[in-house]
Symmetry: D2
Subunit: 284 residues, 4 copies
């Protein structure tokens, strides 16, 4: 059952028939999501050390990424897995982003933490596990920062859009949606990427929609094909995990691209972008 139109009163396409462009970047040249150009976001799953982030960031920015990602607070399935470096990780991310002149994005797990992200990250990520964490959505809505809202593993497109509406109902219009795969019976991938969901989300809302092929695939060998497919389906960008030494990654190594893999993916994205009239955004 689709939501009654007024349930998507701020996010619905009717509110802005021409679509939104969301600018991301507080103290660096802003990057625009939802315009003609597609945006590539890349970086490590987890911030492990300053050296690791610097090395990865230089490589992905040189290759064509316009925004750096990295997890400082990690919501792991097990309480005994690496939980991230926390606030210290945010500092690393900010420093590296500022040095390279690119905005940074990191996941926030808790409404109480949102304040601590201000001044450090340019884009607040709400993870799939928290897509219906109402307190967190509302806190992000009051943060003044743009929000990257991942679709939950079991969320319908409808519920995903209503989660965006939660953020927007607090007065924050800068929401970017991110499809990252839904949970199905298929065991050969970590999740099943729902590219029709991207198309439906773009039709029903005015919000930019990007795709995370890394978490959907769960395996490096599938990431480039899914990234290409996402752009061909009309996504406004990609967010990709890259690690300089995936075998030693503290989190999600098997799905991380090497910097060389990422270069290849960027080349493919440029080719597809040119073919379909949506070039890859180059850094300012």
């Amino acid at each position: 059952m689709p939501a009654p139109d007024d349930a998507l009163r701020r996010s619905g396409r009717a509110a802005r028939p021409d679509g939104s462009v969301v600018a991301v970047g507080e103290d660096v040249p802003p990057v625009a999501f939802g315009g003609r150009e597609v945006v590539l976001v890349a970086g490590p799953c987890a911030v492990e050390s300053r050296e690791q982030v610097e090395r990865t960031a230089r490589a992905v920015v040189a290759a064509g990424a316009a925004l750096l990602r990295g997890g400082a607070f990690k919501g792991r399935t097990s309480p005994y897995a690496f939980p991230g470096l926390g606030a210290e990780g945010l500092d690393v991310l900010r420093d590296v982003g500022r040095a390279l002149g690119v905005p940074v994005c990191s996941e926030v797990l808790d409404a109480e933490h949102v304040a601590a992200f201000r001044g450090k990250v340019d884009l607040l990520q709400v993870g799939a596990r928290n897509m219906q964490n109402v307190s967190l959505l509302r806190a992000c809505g009051r943060s003044g920062l743009p929000v990257l809202l991942k679709r939950g593993l079991a969320a319908t497109v409808e519920e995903w859009l209503l989660a965006a509406e939660y953020v927007m109902s607090e007065g924050n219009e800068r929401v970017i949606l991110c499809e990252r795969g839904i949970r199905t019976f298929e065991p050969s991938t970590r999740a099943t990427l729902d590219l029709a969901g991207v198309v439906v989300a773009r039709q029903r809302t005015h919000l930019p929609v990007i795709v995370d092929p890394s978490h959907a695939a769960g395996r490096r060998a599938l990431v480039p094909a899914l990234g290409r497919a996402a752009l061909a389906a009309g996504a406004d960008g990609l967010i990709v995990e890259v690690h300089p030494d995936p075998d030693r990654a503290l989190s999600d190594g098997p799905q991380a691209l090497t910097p060389e893999d990422f270069e290849g993916l960027v080349a493919d994205c440029r080719a597809i972008g040119q073919a379909l009239g949506r070039p890859v955004l180059a850094r300012a």
Copy 2:
């Protein structure tokens, strides 16, 4: 892939081969989950008014419920749906429970709210949407209150048990698991109740496991059959939504039993309990 044994180091069956009994009830006679007797929890989806809770509570306690449930903070899919009465709702719940001498249970949505639940509820419920809200799990683990942990809509049994482990890793051993249906393709019910998951959870952990047939069914006509089935499968109890006037309920009316329906269900539970050697717990 099952978690390595040490990931379930506190929740795993090996930690307590004979199983745990979790006592719930701070200022009222405590109710034991996980013993020979099965426990019936009942009450309205949402606390709407003192009169509504009193009326429902008297009926369900008279019929055989040992614990009262009621939602004060509601995590609705839409930001424009009834959000619950908040702290005032907790007061109503506490007053009614104390008056009848039964413990009460209510859902907590946010780590920041946990403190406000102390002294008001006897059992903290973590809802399906928040099953992997790590901050909330950890806060519940530090609360000193027992926790009812609902399985997420897309959570494997493995992930559910690891969520319990999060609570327990903070020193709180009083966790009760609650199966409430998983998301599948079948449209005739709101979720698909996974009773094998109940059996697997009981085999792999020492924790009590109860079942919520109301949210799984989504429709009143299916609730009694699922409740009976849950007990026959070996569940340690049920949590059921009851409303004195379901058609006027502010939340989830279609799945609420009337008090009369609930009486019928209790009679069935007693019959099954007698047949299988697990009587329904009577009030102290």
Copy 3:
């Protein structure tokens, strides 16, 4: 979307508001499905040898099974797995059933084979993989034999009922539905048993509905609990895999009960049946 009422014109509850009783048994005393008494069907997954079927049949009939099952033509996932003994297996099954005075049931894979089943089996089973094999459904509808129609792994209740309607549209009213689990993301079981589907099927049609806990569970240790739950939910019977030596079974050994396990399950079924007013059918 529910089918328009006239799509279930023969199977719909409106056609026979009091429900159907389906008699099974050609040259042996017939067994009635859908009456007050619940029916237990048991036997090996595959007919492996005359000795194996005799041994299993004697045990399950002694324990309380009213009908013998056994696969002669096996639709295995791999072309290189044991395909069953074919027509020879049907002869074994018939002989053993006749000797014990119980009807027998076996799966038919192909419309062309239906004729060969006449005079050998009393109940034609259409397997989950063939639930939408329209040619087979129509051939079963013209066979003159009752049909046990398993729900497909990805079939909605709606589609399952429409498959029954295919059989009935050829003039054969003797259809028994069988829920055996649907495919979901949960890896700890082979399928997720959908007991609400049983209730919905009974509400929407007049056909008897039985449950196969063995294929849903995929593991012996879960079968009795699911069998008990199915009867408590209102199923009209169970179909259970039993093997005298499960570790040496040529097909699906891990989910087969031993004869001793089956005796325990029958005792539980009798207890639940007595509690709920639906005793287990005893042999004529």
Copy 4:
């Protein structure tokens, strides 16, 4: 659990590390699937009349389709839905294909019918509902005709490849796989297109893999985006439903493209194909 290598002994990539090219076309210039060029298959869901097929065929061939599809025997969910024109429909399809010089493809529902398809169609389609109809798979394996094997709605990639192995185990190496969406909880599309499944199938086997965006989408507005995405993911072709007057289609009208829509899709495919080095196959 992946199949042991020898279960994919004929279909596995190891059997032909460079991949297979499957030629389709008996009395017309053959079309090669699995080569450098991608193949577009198009036509109506159902053959309704000679005039409808001629009109559609001329349009899709003019636009760039290399092969004509059309259903003569339809396996509908309800026994009361339009079942197709049967053998007469095959004649129409053959005549129109021969006149235009393009091979034709149609679905076979029953092992008994396979013989009747010889001399009429160039490519036997096994539909999603019949992916594990072992008798049909074996009959197709003995037919001498190439086979288009659609993935079942609830089939893992593993099971899909094993179904191909069934066909190949009868000596027929000419199998083309077709991904058409899997069943998930998402209601905004008819199925969820699993493009990672395409990549996995291409990695594990040497068989060509094409994609059906029409059945996955279930709605016209989503088909072009999914078709583009499929090619970007590396599919060897598309099969698309086109109808000259979708609102009057007897089957699946809502998902049919108009001839004009199809022209637009072909233009996109050409652009993507050029970008990625896989041009669209032009007619001989």
